[in-house]
Symmetry: D3
Subunit: 279 residues, 6 copies
Amino acid sequence: MQKWSWDQLAQWGLEEDVGSGDITSELTIGESLRGSLVLKAREPLIVCGTPILEAVYRQLSDEVGVTVLTEDGQFCGADEAVAALEGPVRALLTGERTALNVMTWLSGIATVTQQAVAQVADLPVAILDTRKTRPGQRLWEKYAVRTGGGTNHRFGLYDAILIKDNHIAAMGGISAAVSCIRHRVSHVMFVEVEVDRLDQIPELLTAGVDGILLDNMSMEELRQAVAIIDHQVFVEASGGIRPDQVRTVAETGVDAISLGYLTHSAPHVDIGADWEATL
Amino acid sequence: MQKWSWDQLAQWGLEEDVGSGDITSELTIGESLRGSLVLKAREPLIVCGTPILEAVYRQLSDEVGVTVLTEDGQFCGADEAVAALEGPVRALLTGERTALNVMTWLSGIATVTQQAVAQVADLPVAILDTRKTRPGQRLWEKYAVRTGGGTNHRFGLYDAILIKDNHIAAMGGISAAVSCIRHRVSHVMFVEVEVDRLDQIPELLTAGVDGILLDNMSMEELRQAVAIIDHQVFVEASGGIRPDQVRTVAETGVDAISLGYLTHSAPHVDIGADWEATL
Amino acid sequence: MQKWSWDQLAQWGLEEDVGSGDITSELTIGESLRGSLVLKAREPLIVCGTPILEAVYRQLSDEVGVTVLTEDGQFCGADEAVAALEGPVRALLTGERTALNVMTWLSGIATVTQQAVAQVADLPVAILDTRKTRPGQRLWEKYAVRTGGGTNHRFGLYDAILIKDNHIAAMGGISAAVSCIRHRVSHVMFVEVEVDRLDQIPELLTAGVDGILLDNMSMEELRQAVAIIDHQVFVEASGGIRPDQVRTVAETGVDAISLGYLTHSAPHVDIGADWEATL
Amino acid sequence: MQKWSWDQLAQWGLEEDVGSGDITSELTIGESLRGSLVLKAREPLIVCGTPILEAVYRQLSDEVGVTVLTEDGQFCGADEAVAALEGPVRALLTGERTALNVMTWLSGIATVTQQAVAQVADLPVAILDTRKTRPGQRLWEKYAVRTGGGTNHRFGLYDAILIKDNHIAAMGGISAAVSCIRHRVSHVMFVEVEVDRLDQIPELLTAGVDGILLDNMSMEELRQAVAIIDHQVFVEASGGIRPDQVRTVAETGVDAISLGYLTHSAPHVDIGADWEATL
Amino acid sequence: MQKWSWDQLAQWGLEEDVGSGDITSELTIGESLRGSLVLKAREPLIVCGTPILEAVYRQLSDEVGVTVLTEDGQFCGADEAVAALEGPVRALLTGERTALNVMTWLSGIATVTQQAVAQVADLPVAILDTRKTRPGQRLWEKYAVRTGGGTNHRFGLYDAILIKDNHIAAMGGISAAVSCIRHRVSHVMFVEVEVDRLDQIPELLTAGVDGILLDNMSMEELRQAVAIIDHQVFVEASGGIRPDQVRTVAETGVDAISLGYLTHSAPHVDIGADWEATL
Amino acid sequence: MQKWSWDQLAQWGLEEDVGSGDITSELTIGESLRGSLVLKAREPLIVCGTPILEAVYRQLSDEVGVTVLTEDGQFCGADEAVAALEGPVRALLTGERTALNVMTWLSGIATVTQQAVAQVADLPVAILDTRKTRPGQRLWEKYAVRTGGGTNHRFGLYDAILIKDNHIAAMGGISAAVSCIRHRVSHVMFVEVEVDRLDQIPELLTAGVDGILLDNMSMEELRQAVAIIDHQVFVEASGGIRPDQVRTVAETGVDAISLGYLTHSAPHVDIGADWEATL
C-alpha cells in the first residue's frame, strides 16, 4: 500500500469536508493556540487506517505531531488509545472528522473480518472478500480485509478468470469454455469455475481449471463436493453466507469461504477523540 | 443531482472493476450474442441509485437498453423488479457488479433512513444525517438520505457554523464566540451551538444563535431543554442515538434528530440479477 | 483557505506559463547565479494573494527564500514593498509572472471591495459579492472579497435558497413556493426571496423567509421597503449598483448591498518587481 | 479552439456553481415545465464565448435547444439578441449564470480589444496581448483577444524567446546572449530582445534577432527607434500603454503594440436573459 | 479493452499535438470543404490500434466518417488500405498525425510480436511480454502484444508473485520464501521463482511454486532444466533473448519465452495517408 | 524541464507497475533491511532521464539515497556506472523497473540522436525531430532529442505554421496561402512551406516565408533547391531519411534535417542494476 495513496484518500476527504474552509475554527481559534488529543477505541476493535493521520495532518499543517500508538491489524480494547496528536488546535479540529471517518470505516471492516477469521482459526481455510465494495474504494476495503487477517479474492474482472453459467452457456459447455480460455490467457491467470450443482464437477476436474467455486450449496452438498474434488483443485464456498454460518461452512472441508458482508455490510466501529488541556 | 456525476461514479466503479478488461467475458461471449436480465429486490427496500444504470452502460456499449421500473425513493417489496436491461450479453455482464454495488449501497442507506423516518411520521421532527461518511462519497450518501425521506445536515465545515466546546473555550465563553462569528459571516450562514448541559442554554437564547444542538443528553434532559428553549430557536438532538431510541427522542419535542448510523453503518440491501433467455 | 489550494493555483499558472520550460532563462542564466528582488506596489492597494509566492516557488526550486512583508488584507501605498525574494535567478524569473498575475488580480478585487466598504464604514450594512465570477475561480475571487472587508453571499446554487420570479410562477405564488421549500430543506439553509415590487413584500413577511432581496429598486422604493419590513427579516439591495451609488443605497437602511462589479469588473492593480544586484 | 475545451470550461463553471444541485429549482420547478429565453446585449459589444451555451446545456439536459443568433467576433448593439434557448425551465435556470459568466467575461475582453484595434485600423500595426492573464484561463483570454481582432503574442515562456536585461547581464552582453540562444534553439523560435534605451539597438541589428521590444519609451524615443531599425526586424512597443495612448503609439511607426489591459483589466460587458412565457 | 480508454488516449494525443489549435488548417481550410483519404500500409504489418480513429475524430468533428477496412490483429501487405476517412478536410488534417502515431506505434509492436510467434507456431510454447514498457502506456503496449498473437505476462508488481534472488536471500532460502508467500496470498496469485542455476531447481519442485523462470541460461542449461522439471510446473525462459534466438530457445522445450524487445525496441511501422480529391 | 513533471512521470509509472502494492517484496523483505545497488550501462550510450531516480524514490521512501554519477547528455561506456542507490531494499526493488524503463527509453532516443549529430558534426546543419512520438510522451521524447544534441522542431500544430499541399490547394496557390496566414498570425510564428518539386520554390521566395521544407527529394534535387534558395530562407530536408543517409543529405547544404526515426524507432538501450551486499 503506497504512501501517496493515503495522501490521495486524505485529499478526497478534506476536499469534501473542509471545502473552502473550516469557518467555525478559523473565526474562533487563534493561530497560536496549541493543544493535544488522544484517539481512543470506544469498543473492542481491530485497528485499520492509522496512516491516514499523517496524511490528513500533513496537508493541514507542518506543526501537527502524530504518534500512532498501535499498528494496523492490532487488537484494541474499549478505551484503549489508538493514537495521540499534538499541535495547533485549529488544524487538529479541521482534520478530526476526516481522519476518524477513514479509521472507523476501515477498522469496522477489519474487525468484522477478524471475527470471521477467529471462528475458523484452527481449520485450514481462508476467509476471502468479494467484489461487493463501494465505487472508488475497493483498494481500501480490500486492504482492511487483509488487515483483519482475511485474504483478497480477485481485485476485479481483469486479474483472474471466473467462469459463470452465462459464459458456459455461450461456449456450449464447461470443457469448451475452459479449454478456450486456457489457450488464450497468460500462465499467471487463475482459472476458476462457478457451479451450483454437484453433477457439474467431474467434467471440471479433467478440464484443467485451477479452482471451483461452489455457489449457494447446502452444507451437505458442500461436503459431497469436497469429497468429489478430493484436493485436486482449489475449492471455494460462496453465496450469501452469514456470520453465524462461517464455522459450519468451514467444517465441510472447503479451502476458502468468500463473504460479501465483510465489505458491503460491516458497520463502522466507534473511535472518539478525547481532548486534553489546550495551551 | 447532476447527470455528469453519475457518469463519474460509474467511471470510478468501472475503472477499478473492469480495469484492462473483463477477460472472462471477452474470451467466451461472442460480440453478437444478446440477452436480457431483470434486477430484482431480494428483500423489501427503498430504491436508490437507479441513474447509475444508464451511466454504467453508456460507457460500455451503445446498444444496452435500460428500463428503470421504479424510481429513486420508491418502496420495493421482495422479488419485485427494479429495472430491466437488454443488449449485448458481454456488456451486460461487464457492468453488472459495478451497477449493483452502487444500488445496493445507496438503497441500503435510503432504507435505513426511511425506517427512522417512518417511526416518527406523525411527529413534527426531521431526521438528519451527519458528516460521518466515507471519503469521496459524502454527496452520494447524503443523496441516499434525502431519497429515504431524511434531511441533510451541513455538507461540511464550510457551509454552516457549528460551535463546539473547543471553540467556546478558545473565545472565552459562548456569548463572545457567537458574537464574534455573527459579525464576520454571511447572512446565509446558519449558526448552531453544541451544548451538553442545560445551564449552557439560557445564555445562548440571548446570544443570537439560529440553533442549539443537544449532545448526548438523557431523555429527561432533552425534555427540559425543549421547555427552556420554547421554540425560540431550532433544537437538535444528537450523540450515538440508536435505531430503537429514535421514537423516544422524538417524543421529547426536539425539532430534529441527527443519526450517524444512517450513513456509517447501513448494511447494503440485496438486489440480484435474474437472467432471461439469451438470443 | 487551505494550503494545498494555493499549490493547485500555482500549478495551473505554471503549467500554462512555463509549459515545457522557460527556454530563455534556461539558455542564458547559469544554475549557480543567485539574486534578489522586491515586489512593490506601483499604486495604493489592498494586498491579496501573498501565499501564492510560497506556492509558486516551492514548485520551482528548494532554494528560493520568500519573505512576505505585508499580509493579505493590509493597505499598501505606492512604492511600498509587498514581499522580497532571494534565490537562484533562473527560478526567480521563471515564476515571476505567474505569481504577479495572481497577486495583481486578487489585490484588484480586494482593493475595489475595500473602497466600497470604506464608503459605508459608519453604517450597519454589509457589502456582499455575487455569483458573477470567472469559471473555476470563484473560491479565489470570493476570498479576495473577504480580504477586502466584504462579506460572501452564497457560493453557488447549492448552499442557499434564492427564490426568483420563475420559481414563484412555477409554484403558483410566493407563499406556496416558500412553504414548499421550507418543509423540504435542511434547517441550515437560508431562504431568501427576490422581489422587484413593494406589494410583494407583505405576503413574504408571513411566509417564513429568512431574507428579502430587493432587485433594481429606486432609492425611494428601497426606503419604503425597509420601512415595511421593519427588521423582521434580513434585507438586501441588488441590481447593477455602481460604485458611486453604494453610499446612497446604504443610507436607505438595507442590511446589505450586493455588488457584481467587485468580481466581474475589478481591474488588476499594478505590482512590479525591482531587481537588486545579482551575485 | 477545440470542442472538448468548451466542455471542460462548462464543467468547471457548473461544478462550482451547481455543486450538489440547484436546490431552489429542483424544489420548485416541475420536470415537465418548458420555457424559452433570449440572451440580449445590454450594451454595445463584440460577442465572444457563444460555444459555451451548447457546452453548458449539453451537460444539464438532452432537451435544451440552443440557437446562437450571432457568432464570435460580431458586433452586437444594445438590446440585440445574442442567442435563444428553449427547453426544460429547470435546466435553463441552472445553467444560466455559468453560461453568462463566460460570455460576459470573454465578450468584455473582445470588446476592449476591438476598441483598440479600431483606433488604428488604417495603420499597419498589430494589437498584441501579453502574459498578464488569470491562472488557468490564458487560452480563453487569448482566444477573446483574437476574437476582438487582436493578435496573440507568445503563449508562455516555452514558445518564444524574449531576452530581458537579466538575461543579457547574465550572459555578459546582448550579442553574447543572442548568439548563445540562436545556436541552441529551433529554427521555429522567434527571438526577441527587450530594450529600454536607444543605444542598445545598433548592436541588436547585427546580432541576428527577429524582433525588438521597446519598453516604456517616450513617443520621441519610439520614433527614433523605428528610424534606426528601419524595417530590418520586427518592432514592438510595450509598457503600461493606456487606451488613450494607443493611436499615438501606433503613429510612431512600430509594427505592433502590446497591451496588458486587454486581458488584465477589461470589465465584463452586460448580457442579460429575457424570459418568455413558459408552457 | 474498453471504449472509454481509446477516448482517453486520443485526448492525450490531441492535447499535446493540437493544443490551442491547428493554426495552419484553421487559417487556410474553409469550414465547408470536405475530402477523403485512405490510410495505407507502406510495408507489410499486423494492424493494431484502429479504434483510435473513431476516438480521435469523435473529438474533432461530428461529421467525419471512419471506415475501418481491417481489424486489429490482421495482416496487411504493403500498399493495402487499413482504413478510409471522409469528412471536413480541416478535421481530417488536424487529427491525422495523432491517429497515425498511435497506429504505427501499436502496429509496430504487434508486427514484431507476430514475427516471434510465427517462428514457433508449430511448438507448444507461448511468447510473453515483460514489464519493460513506457510509463503510462503499459496497457496499450500489452494490448499490442496480444494483438500480435503474444501472451501477456503479469501487468505489474501487484498481480503475480515473482520471487528473485533478493527476496530469497532476505528470507534465508527458497523454501522459506515460497512457504511464507503461499500462506499469505490469495489463491488467485501465480507464484513464480526466478533462478539462474540448475541446482536451485529441485528444492523448488517441492516448495509448491506454480512456475519457474530460467534467467539467462545457455541452451544446454535450458534443456537440462526442462528435463529436471519434467512438466511438474510451468517453465519460462527469459533474459535478453534476441529475435534470432527465439526458435532455438523454444526448441529446448520451455513452456514460454519472455521477450523484452517486443515492447521496448519495436520500431514503428510505416502507415501513410493518401489524399483523394477534395470537394 | 520542470521538477514537478518528473514527479508526474514517476507517478504514472509507479501507478501502473506497483498498483496496489509490490506484493512479492512486501511479503519477503523486512522493513529494516537496507542495501545498495549501482545502475550500469550495459552498452555505450548517451545518458538521459536521470532525474527520474529522485522522482521515483521520493514517492516510495524518505530513506533512499540517490547519487547520480553522470548527467543527462553525457556519454557512458559499457559497464560504467550511471547512478548509485542506497536505502531500504524493499523500496529499492519496488521502484527499480519504473526508473529503468524511463532511463532506457530516453537514453535510447538520446543515443540514436547523438549518432546522427556526430555524423554531421563538422557541417552547419541541425538535426531535428518530428511530431512522430507516442501519445502523452512528446515532451519527454523531445527532451531526449535535445539531450542527444538534436534540435526540436515544432511541438505541435499550435506553435508553428507548416503549410502543406492540402492547405495550398484550399487557398488556390502558394502565394495566396502564405499571404493569408502572414496577415493573421502573431509575429512570433515561424511560417514554413512544404514542397516536393523544385518549380514550387521561386514563388515561395517572394511570398514571405521563413522556411522551406523539401519533402522526399533526391540528393540532386536537394542540391539544386539549396542553390535556388541561396540562403534567403531556412531550408530543411525531410521524408523517411534513414540513419545511413544523414551524412549525404547534410552535404547537400541544407540547414536542417528532420528525422522521424529519432523518436519513433529508437530501441531502448540496456541499463542494468548490480546489487551490492545488503545489510
